[in-house]
Symmetry: C2
Subunit: 383 residues, 2 copies
């Protein structure tokens, strides 16, 4: 099931749990699938050798932790990370490097690499590239350049490949919305949800946004309204007939697109708001409950249910389309129409021992699994 590839010749020298730091590089790896808080550990490895022809050595500047990354480590994601083999004479099993998304800087280019130079910023277009590390050697066709002249911050560039295109594609691939049209979404405070709000607002599309009820709902509501949300409500509001009446009056019963990253009951009640001939697009299942909808929504209201997976999009689309998408996203960001998600930078430093940073990483994932991190975490590997 797992494809096996060479990480880099230099990774022969992976030294799990070394207490004496002789290497300048670090990676967050796992040898088997499981709860990230249990199976992830931080290891050292030395600086990479010069790149082979048509490959590039890159140093990661910021590497996000996205929800799907957790599923990959758990082994329940349909795309597996590629394992790194031949790490050392003592290594018994393949090792996987975590992380799918990241902003990296070109350190050195191999022969035959055109259009990339030392210091250039690049993002990964190959899925499960293993971005939770200091340095990697990558194929030139697996990265896309992000021109620095576009003026993006590191955090903006590091989070550009997954969530913004997911939001953009879901807004455009299923139904042609015009200014004034409505969409409804759940999990609206997710990174994708925030991108949906902003991109929709930039096109004059109105968004009705649902989140779980919480102590600081007022503050979250204000935050999403400032991003451009037309309204923000909780799932509880959908049990209140008068509020549902208000929604119908406000949207004139013409919600043409629904976006779902939750599943379960929250989606069933939200789907009832959808108008005739509308589309419901699922891109996540945070409740871990199935998507359960009345058949009458399909038969009599002619609703169509789709899934969207940005990884499939990267797999199936030609390189020029990916470049165009990155350009569009960068324009939205530099035009102040799309902000990086609220985030926190966590440093993985070689000044601490591997055990210390392993504990730090495990603690992050314990908090993530409890849903207690309101912000996106961006990992910064520092020598």
């Amino acid at each position: 099931m797992f494809k096996s590839v060479r990480f880099s010749a230099a990774l022969h020298y992976f030294k799990p749990f070394s207490t004496v730091t002789t290497s300048t590089n670090r990676a967050i790896v796992y040898a088997r699938n499981g709860d990230p808080a249990d199976v992830l550990r931080v290891v050292d490895y030395p600086t990479l050798p010069p790149p082979e022809p048509h490959t590039v050595n890159v140093r990661f500047l910021l590497s996000p932790i996205n929800p799907a990354d957790v599923n990959v480590v758990e082994g329940i994601y349909p795309v597996k990370a590629e394992s790194v083999t031949n790490l050392s004479s003592t290594q018994e099993k393949p090792i996987f490097v975590g992380g799918n998304e990241g902003l990296a800087e070109v350190v050195k280019t191999g022969d035959g690499v055109a259009g990339l130079h030392e210091g250039d910023w690049v993002v990964m277009t190959r899925q499960q590239a293993g971005t939770w590390c200091s340095e990697r050697n990558v194929q030139m066709e697996d990265v896309l350049k992000i021109p620095k002249k576009q003026g993006l911050t590191e955090a903006e560039a590091a989070t550009i490949t997954v969530n913004p295109p997911t939001a953009y594609n879901m807004l455009h691939e299923f139904v042609s919305l015009r200014p004034g049209d409505w969409l409804v979404q759940n999990g609206a405070n997710s990174a994708v949800g925030q991108a949906v709000i902003q991109i929709a607002a930039s096109e004059g599309i109105k968004t009705l946004n649902f989140v779980r009820n919480r102590d600081d709902f007022g503050a979250l509501r204000e935050y999403l309204l400032e991003l451009g949300a037309s309204d923000v409500m909780t799932y509880d509001d959908l049990s209140d007939k008068s509020k549902v009446e208000c929604i119908r009056a406000m949207t004139t019963g013409n919600i043409r697109l629904g976006l779902n990253c939750v599943g379960g009951r929250e989606t069933a009640v939200m789907a009832r708001l959808l108008g005739e001939d509308s589309h419901l697009v699922s891109y996540g299942a945070m409740s871990k409950q199935p998507l359960s909808l009345s058949s009458s929504l399909f038969i009599f209201r002619n609703i169509t249910a789709h899934g969207f997976w940005q990884s499939r999009w990267y797999r199936d689309r030609p390189r020029d389309e990916k470049e165009t998408m990155m350009h569009k996203m960068a324009q939205l960001i530099s035009g102040k129409k799309l902000a990086a998600p609220a985030h926190e930078i966590v440093t993985i430093s070689t000044r601490e021992s591997c055990e210390q940073t392993t504990n730090k990483v495990n603690s992050i994932f314990t908090q993530l699994s409890g849903g207690r991190y309101g912000k996106k975490i961006l990992l910064k590997f520092r020598s």
Copy 2:
């Protein structure tokens, strides 16, 4: 909510529960929504007066009872029957005539009616036309002629407008299947299911058919295989890993279309057989359970879920498209590629009292609601 129309001037003389039969016409009617076995009753009414201009008097030859007709009487169907008012001086409430589908013979045409003559066969294209009666006066644009030279039997022509086009459209509107491609369906012994098997077989498309387990499963399986089914199984078989392996081997994991009239668990397990990029089309919910599918089917396997409703098709399509469809269906039938569903003709005769026939009708619907009728019932009103 209910639109109110005049049935016919002659219906002023509706005489509910008359024991002396002075009228030559009968109708199965209801005054309020509810369980058909409770609310339906048979009433007499006299022969129609001559038709107004642009209208036609027709006499029904055979009028099917379809599953949706039950939902209309129950009041849970999104299209309501039009009520008949001004029936008699004693009538307090609007009365509805049951039935949506039927074959009728033209008795008399009004002025300005072109292309229809006495003795011609017609079917209804207006939904909820109220076909469970002896005679009606209808608008000329609400009927389509079925040329007798096509050689259809009464039963074939009476069942041509609902189930065969439903099957045909579901086979063609969502995915382009080629000979050798597979589809899977549940409720495969339904009238639509049987039509799907036959139309698919006529195009070289393979069908994997699921039905509930039952004592006479062997006989039902043989019957469906003779219609052209590639294979017939029970939902229980989907719990058997080795049988699922067999299915995957047989279909080479490439089932591109799923048809669902059941909902609930039976559909969830069937949907797992669907291949990447396939389509699941729902047209019924016999289990009365919601359609509950793992989000991963949508996101990672890129399955799209649609609904299909033949009534919408009739509402939205131009007359020439409806004529073409009827012609196609008649060709399939006269070419022996599509048979009328297994059926039983039940006579509603004026030789029996209204009470007797009311009891007969109620008994039929009691059996239908228990799912104990294996055959489609065609009502024959006889003077």
